[in-house]
Structure formats: C-alpha cells, structure tokens
C-alpha cells in the first residue's frame, strides 16, 4: 500500500514561465455544437487547463476522428487534425513519434473510439504512445442523428433500435485497462472542478492516457447519466477514488467499499468512525486487477484515476533504437547503396 503522505497534487509541476491565458487557446472558429451540449463545458475546461501546463500552444496538438466530439480541434488555437472516423489514434501516433516535442491530445467519442476505431484505441494504449485520449461517452450516435452506440444500455430504443438494442454494451474503463493503458480515469461533464483535476493529472502523465468523460447529449440522449450524475444523487451514486485513501462516498461520507472475498461490497457506517477494513485505492498497483474490479462497479460508479503507472513510451523506445543503430553503424548512404557484394565492370 502506498504511503499516506503520497499526495498526488505535490508531484504536479507549477505553471511554466509562458504567459498564456485561456483566451490564447480559443480559435477564431464558431463553436457549432447544439446549445446545452456537454461538450461546451469540456472545451472550456480544457481551454482553461492549457495555460496552466506551461507549454506554448505551438507545442500542443489536438487530433480527432469523426463525430460531434471530434470537432474539438477546430476550436483550439493549437495545432490540430480532424481526421477520419475512428483513426485519430493512428494519426496521433505518427505525429507523436515523429515529433516527440508535441503534447498530443486525442478527442474521441463512444462511436469513434470504441466502435469503428476500437482496434486503434487498444493498440495505441498497449504501445503506451504518449497520447492524452479523451473519450466523450454519451452512449449515443449524435452526428448521425441518434443511433445506439457500443456503450448504449441493452434494450435502449433509438432510431436504429425501435424495439430496443440487443447488443450488450462494453465497458470503456475495462477495455482501457485490458489494453494496458498506463493512465485510466473517469470524470463527468457536469462536475467541472473534478474534471479539471483529472485532466490536469492526465496532462502531466507520461504515456498513454485514457479518460472516459460522461457527457450528456441534449438532443438524442438527454439525461444519459442523470441517474448517477445528477446533482441531487451523484454523492450517493458515484464515488471519487483517491490514491492511498479508503473508498468512501455519500453526502455524509457514511458509505464505503469493502472487499468481500473477490467481490466489492458497500458498507454503511458512522462517518466519525469509519471501519478500518475499507478498501484503499492504489492507482499505482503493478497489476490492473483491482482497478478493473473498480471499473466493473455499477453502484456507486467510481470516478477519478483508476490507474497511473509508468512504463517506457513508444517514442522513447523508437528513438533509443535509432540511437543504438547509429552508434553501431554510422549512416553512410554510399555504403548502403553498395550493399554487401559488388563487382566492377571495367571500361
């Protein structure tokens, strides 16, 4: 178990010497999401976060695929690439490895990232590409006007499932953990201070970041997460996990999670005297087993950082091999062209 004094906020570097404000990160393009869309809040949070990172905006890139969330890069005055459906992690991988000086963010959605682009997502995560992948999960296809997505609840009635969906949804957190993402987190579009906290951690993590953001689609899936994320219920239905802290939730801090064998269970107690055997969160655990158990918890729904571990990043490994090859054999184009065996044809 980690030491109690391991305060995660202490490891974050202070803002850099560059004077930038949120305004510097707003592009001149009109934001074209539906009024009331959860994406506005996420955009504003990210624009506010950027100046605190101490990275000049030309060293930041946002890459996206297709879908409502994927319009994001157009609204950021950084470098940006609005690519094609599902493929943002591939473009971002090329960009990051070719230019490791860039901080590269990927903005995707439940359709873009988990359906058409599911394959790229898992491979970017397992390679530990240094990408900050934000997956806006609204459990619906918005840009195509309301079909079910890979995270839609079973039985959900949509335009393409008038009798209810028959496809079981997948769990984005479990998928990311199974793909060995080195940073896995969840936040909600309506709790901006906490979203900002999670994204700040994400920004400073070195390696593949996966953040699922519960996001409301006001037109096609309004109230997507109301049952757990609405202001009046969220303290009871969701739980913020913190590294090294026991898992406690509830408006009165009177509920917690305890392990019963291999199963987590909710216990209620007097907040003045919480039980000693509450489950203590360890985001740095070498194995993803406990994080995955949390990922499957349906009530309360955990948010915060499930896992944050360090391992070598793809661009580092790639560059190291190039250095190693150069040390072993300096680049000599003529030698390369000559190859192992030559012969001379005399005049």
């Amino acid at each position: 178990m980690p030491a109690e004094s391991d305060n995660e906020m202490e490891i974050l570097p202070a803002a850099g010497p560059i004077a930038q404000t949120a305004k510097d990160f707003k592009s001149d393009q009109m934001v074209r999401w539906c009024p009331g869309c959860g994406d506005f809040a996420i955009l504003a949070t990210v624009q506010k976060l950027m100046p605190t990172l101490g990275i000049p905006r030309e060293k930041i890139a946002f890459v996206s695929g297709i879908g409502c969330s994927s319009r994001f890069p157009y609204y950021m005055n950084t470098y940006g690439f609005h690519s094609i459906h599902g493929r943002a992690p591939t473009v971002a991988t090329g960009l990051k490895c070719a230019n490791p000086d860039m901080q590269v963010w990927v903005v995707t959605g439940d359709g873009d990232g988990l359906s058409i682009g599911g394959n790229h997502l898992i491979h970017a995560l397992r390679r530990n590409v240094d990408l900050k992948i934000l997956l806006f999960n609204n459990r619906i296809y918005g840009l195509t006007k309301g079909q079910y997505s890979p995270t839609s609840e079973i039985g959900k009635k949509t335009k393409s499932s008038p009798m209810g969906t028959i496809d079981a949804p997948l769990n984005p957190i479990s998928l990311a953990l199974a793909s060995e993402a080195s940073f896995v987190a969840r936040a909600v579009d309506t709790d901006l201070p906490f979203l900002s906290e999670v994204l700040t951690r994400a920004a400073h993590h070195k390696g593949s970041v996966f953040v699922e953001i519960f996001q409301n689609c006001i037109v096609f899936n309004d109230g997507a997460f109301e049952n757990v994320a609405a202001k009046d219920v969220r303290e009871e239905k969701m739980m913020k996990v913190q590294h090294g802290k026991p898992m406690i939730f509830g408006a009165k801090k009177d509920k917690g999670i305890r392990l019963n064998g291999l199963e987590p269970e909710v216990v209620t107690f007097d907040p003045a005297a919480p039980p000693k055997d509450l489950f203590v969160h360890d985001e740095k655990a070498p194995s993803a087993t406990l994080a995955n158990m949390l990922g499957h918890l349906a009530e309360p729904v955990p948010q915060g950082i499930f896992r944050a571990v360090e391992r070598p990043m793809l661009h580092e490994l790639m560059d190291a091999q190039i250095d190693q090859a150069r040390t072993a054999k300096p680049a000599d184009l003529q030698k390369l062209l000559n190859g192992p065996e030559t012969w001379t044809v005399a005049a």
Binding site: I84, T90, G94, L95, M102, A331, L337
Partner: protein
C-alpha cells in the same frame, strides 16, 4: 566415381561458346531453391554476364512436401548481350523431385535439358506429384534430353565419414546440383565457396560439408561425362562501373532512404505485413541508423494513418502494401488528398481480386490507384520498370509528393519486387537534393495559399510558433483552409486539387522512343512489363518490322508528349497484365483506337507473346 580430395583439373571435354542461356531450378520450398538460384546469380554477375532473375514461389510457407503446391522455382537468363527478361523457356531445368518436374517441364524448351534428382522418383513421391507412371520411364519426356542423377546418393557418398545426420547430409544436395551447373556453364566456384564460409562461420562442419558437396557435384559433372560438353557465356558489353545485384523491393527501400537524405527529413514507414511488399518493411527496419522510423501497425488503416500523422509532423512519410491493403487505406488516402499532405503510397501489386494470387504478379491495380477513392480524389501515380528502376522511381515519388504536397502512388509488382538484376550503383553525392520552400512570414501565412509554380500549400511542422493551424477532411475554404460548405468553393477546390496534380506533368522528361518516331505500330508499356516489351520490340525491329515502343513511368499525369508520339503511328498496342486499364485511360484521354494485349495468369509476359501480339496487329492491319 569422383574423388573430392583432388581439385578438378581443367576439363578435357569440349567447350561451346553460346550467347545466352536460361536455366531454372525447382524443388520443394524447403529444398533451398531460392538460395541455389541466388548463388548462381552472384557467380554469373561476377563473371560479367548481363542477367535477369525470376523467383516463383508458392504462397504456403511449407506446403506438403513433395506436392506440386509446394514447388518453389528460380529462373535466370544470362547472356553476353543485354538481358531484359528472365527468359521465356529454360534451356536447362533442374528438378529436385517429381512434383517440380510435373509443375515445370512444359515450360522447358523443346530439346532442352532436364536434370532430375532420380533418388526422389519413388512410388510415394510420384503419387504425390500426380504421376500414375514414372515419367522417366514412360517416354512422356521424349521432347527433352533427360539426365537422371542420384543427387541424394552421390551427396551421401561425398560426405561419407563426416559424422553428419541424414538430414544434414540431405540439405547439402542443392550444392551438389549447383556444382554440376557451375561445371556445365564453366563458372568459377570461389564466390559460392566464400559465401558458404561466411554463412556457416559458426559451424565449420557445415562449411566443410557444403564445400565438399559443391566440389563433388562439379567433379562429377566432368568425370562422369554426363553432359558430354559444356558451355561458355562470355562477358556482356555492360556499361562500366561498380555493380551489385538488387531486387525490386531492395531498390525501393534504398530509394526511399536516399529520398529521406535528399529531402533532409526523417523517413516514416507505416506498414502492415503483406506479400509481396513485406521485404520493403524488413529492409527499412534494418536501416534505423538513417533515422528511419518503421511502424508495424495493427492494420493497413493504422499504417497509413500513422504516415499521415508523420507527414503532418514534417517527416517524409510512406505507407507500403499490396492491393488488398490499398483497398483498406482508401479513405485515409482521401484524407491526405484533402489535407494536401505529402504521402507516398507503395503498392507492390499482386494477382487479385480479394486475396487473389498473393505470390504472383499482376498489373491490375492501376485503376485502384487512379480512382479507388470516394469523391474526386486525384493522386500522382508513377510506376517502376525494372528491379533497379524501383530505386529511381521511389526517389521520384518522394520528390513529387513533397514538391506538390500531395499523395503519390508508386506501383511496382511481385515480378519486380522479387526479381533481380545487376544494378549500376548510383553515386550518393550525385542525387539531387529536394528543393526547400521557405515559409511565408507569420503575418502572411495562409494554410491553403498556393505556390504559383507548383500550386502546393505551405508545409508547416507542428511546433512552429505563429503557424498554428487545424487540418481535416472536411472541405476547405480556398486560401484560408477553414471549413467551408460553400457550393462554389467546393467546385473551385475540386478543380484546384486536380489542377495541382496535373501540374506535375511539367516535371516529366521527354519520353524515350525505342525505334523510329513514325511507323506502323507503337507499343506502349508501363511497369514491370518493360523487359519483355523491349526485348520483343527489339526482335521485331531486327526482323525489319515497323514497330517502336515507349515505356511510361508517369501514369498520372501522363507525359505531355504522349499524344504527339502516338500520332506518328498507324496503330497503338498496349500490353498489360490486366484487362486493359492503361488502355482505357489512353483511349478515353486521347480518343485513339488503341488495342490491348492482355494476360492475366499471374505470370509475366513472355517475349514471344509480345512479338506474336504485335505481329497479329501488323498482319491484321486493324
């Protein structure tokens, strides 16, 4: 019986000088056929002959032993004059087993020699090869001079007492056969002996065994007097200089590395393994000391996506595959067209459609390169003519992509990829560096403001302060590059993208005409058919026929002088290993009644097929 302990004495048997020869080795894919062929090739190149090779192997790595499905072949033509193809019909064919004989004997020249490994002609192998009766005994090979040799037994005798296992001994029999062929064509064995020493330097026993097998085969060919006499092919009049042997895939990889040096930008190769393109990935992966970044992606789409990301980042970015992979990459290539990023797309074509014939050659992806995307989505298309030309065209593809800020297809094919030829090694210092276009001042920067000469937009690497911008697949507003749904703007942009690709015509050198500028028939080729077409046309010209030929390396845009050249001839014939794709493009663009000469067998053209096809046009006067 030969005595391997004494070096072979100069032969007393007569030697006949011949101009050229075609030989083919074939056996199980585990028989070391490709290796044997490559050794013969190296020795032949060192002897100063011109040559061309064609390996032909099955898609299965180890198909059932002894079956025709597992037969691997290697053909080489070598000559004291210019060689343009691996040859139509072998003069000498070495069959390591009945299946190899069954699969190949029909190709052998009438009266040609077939050397068979007699040991393998037992009931089991004959049955596996589909023979009811032993072909060595039923007279079915009466058109050929059949020479049965007990390769297995003779190799065992030669290596007797060395303490090798049966399998180890068996593995040396290809060198016994190679030794025989070296005697037959009066070749020195030093290069192969040296190669064996290097290859098995960790295992002196294998060096000795293979040396012995090679010497034994050589001595046996002479002392047993099985060939009666032997041949000499003199040096060819080859342009002086330093040469190496090179396959198309090797040349392609070297061309890209050279282009990276020329462009002054690191190379990114995003690829997913696929036959027959994988060797380019292997070759580039070996050369990371040049700063080459190879990325074996999770699929074809990720491969091209990563290359687009790397191009955005300012790298010289490529993706390479074969036809099925191009199909998967199509949408992303459209993105590169829209975002006007330089991207080189290598297609080592193979037989299609679908999985098709993975190890066989075809030219049926020209339409795919030209039109295989949604929307009006033009790209530059170039094609290599010979294995060595792959180097030149890889360099050219990269240069055009960067100059015009657009995707460029490089088409090669399985025949070029695996075939090899002696290559006059280019001088690195003579390679022309790419032109660098400076960025406009920050205040004047517009993402889609075009260079007046090339119509290219500026290429800004992320990280450059003051030039922050967003690219994407949605239609761009002219000049600013912002999103635009304006109808007039869309039409303008579609026309601008097409005009930009057409601008590349200004870079195409005048076509070289083989033969007269006017005449009865003009043969137009592209890609790997160059050798067969050129040899066929040369033969027709020698026979006094009014035939000329040109070979296209630039397919989109087409060379500006093509129309005028065609106007000088009564007939235009376009041989292609497809149903007539260039034919349709040329007919549509120039409204000429060109005729196709088409073959879709997964095999290259034979020279005689070109000659006969053109003769038919000449006779028919069509």
């Amino acid at each position: 019986m030969s005595d391997t302990s004494t070096p072979p004495k100069p032969s007393k048997l007569p030697i006949e000088e011949i101009e050229s020869a075609v030989i083919r080795f074939a056996g199980d894919s585990g028989d070391g056929i490709q290796l044997t062929g490559m050794q013969f090739t190296t020795t032949t190149a060192f002897a100063g002959n011109d040559l061309a090779t064609f390996p032909d192997f099955p898609a299965e790595i180890r198909a059932p032993v002894g079956t025709t499905a597992g037969v691997s072949g290697f053909q080489i033509q070598f000559s004291s004059r210019q060689v343009l193809t691996p040859g139509d019909a072998p003069d000498v064919f070495v069959a390591m087993n009945p299946a190899a004989l069954q699969a190949n004997y029909k190709d052998v020249k009438k009266g040609g020699m077939i050397l068979v490994n007699k040991d393998t002609f037992n009931a089991g192998n004959l049955k596996k090869a589909g023979y009811a009766v032993n072909p060595l005994e039923d007279g079915s090979l009466s058109d050929f001079r059949v020479i049965p040799v007990e390769l297995g037994r003779l190799t065992r005798n030669a290596l007797d007492g060395m303490g090798l296992t049966a399998t180890e001994t068996e593995r040396c029999k290809n060198f016994f056969a190679l030794g025989m062929m070296y005697w037959l064509y009066d070749r020195p064995m030093e290069a192969t002996l040296k190669w064996i020493e290097t290859k098995f330097k960790k295992n002196p026993k294998y060096v000795e065994a293979n040396h012995k097998a090679l010497h034994a085969g050589n001595a046996y060919a002479e002392t047993a007097e099985i060939f009666g006499h032997h041949f000499r092919v003199n040096k060819a009049p080859i342009k002086p200089g330093l040469y190496r042997n090179i396959t198309g895939n090797e040349a392609t990889a070297l061309g890209f590395i050279a282009a990276s040096v020329g462009a002054g930008r690191p190379l990114w190769y995003g690829s997913y393994p696929i036959t027959p393109a994988s060797d380019v990935l292997h070759e580039l992966s070996k050369n990371k000391n040049f700063g080459v970044k190879t990325f074996q992606a999770e699929d074809e789409i990720a491969a091209v996506g990563s290359a687009i990301g790397a191009a955005f980042a300012g790298h010289l970015a490529l993706t390479g595959t074969s036809g099925p992979g191009i199909a998967l990459k199509a949408e992303a290539i459209g993105l590169a067209v829209m975002t006007e990023l330089p991207l080189i797309i290598l297609n080592v074509q193979r037989g299609g459609p679908s999985t098709g014939l993975p190890t066989k050659t075809e030219q049926a992806d020209l339409f795919q390169a030209m039109y295989g995307r949604n929307g009006e989505c033009p790209a530059i298309v170039v094609a290599a003519a010979t294995p060595g030309d792959c180097f030149q065209m890889a360099y050219e593809a990269a240069r055009l992509a960067v100059k015009y800020m657009t995707p460029v297809f490089l088409l090669t094919d399985g025949y070029l990829a695996n075939g090899s030829e002696p290559w006059l090694i280019p001088q690195a210092k003579d390679l022309k560096p790419f032109e660098k276009v400076p960025l406009p001042p920050v205040g004047e920067f517009k993402l889609y403001k075009r260079d007046p000469e090339t119509m290219a937009r500026p290429w800004v690497s992320p990280g450059t302060a003051g030039y922050e911008h967003r690219l994407g697949g949605i239609e761009k507003q002219d000049v600013t590059g912002n999103i635009s749904y304006d109808p007039d703007n869309h039409e303008r942009m579609v026309r601008l993208r097409a005009a930009k690709v057409n601008k590349a015509a200004q870079d195409i050198p005048p076509l070289e005409i083989l033969g007269e500028k006017k005449g009865k028939v003009l043969v137009i080729g592209w890609g790997g058919t160059y050798g067969a077409i050129t040899a066929g046309v040369q033969n027709l010209q020698k026979a006094g026929k009014s035939v000329s030929s040109i070979h296209l390396r630039h397919l989109n845009p087409l060379p500006p002088d093509l129309g005028d050249i065609m106007a000088g001839f009564d007939h235009v014939v376009i041989p292609e290993l497809n149903m007539g794709q260039l034919l349709k493009i040329i007919r549509a663009k120039y409204l000429v009644p060109a005729t196709g000469l088409n073959k879709i067998k997964g095999q290259p053209f034979k020279v005689t097929e070109i000659e006969e096809g053109v003769e038919a046009i000449l006779k028919g006067g069509k």
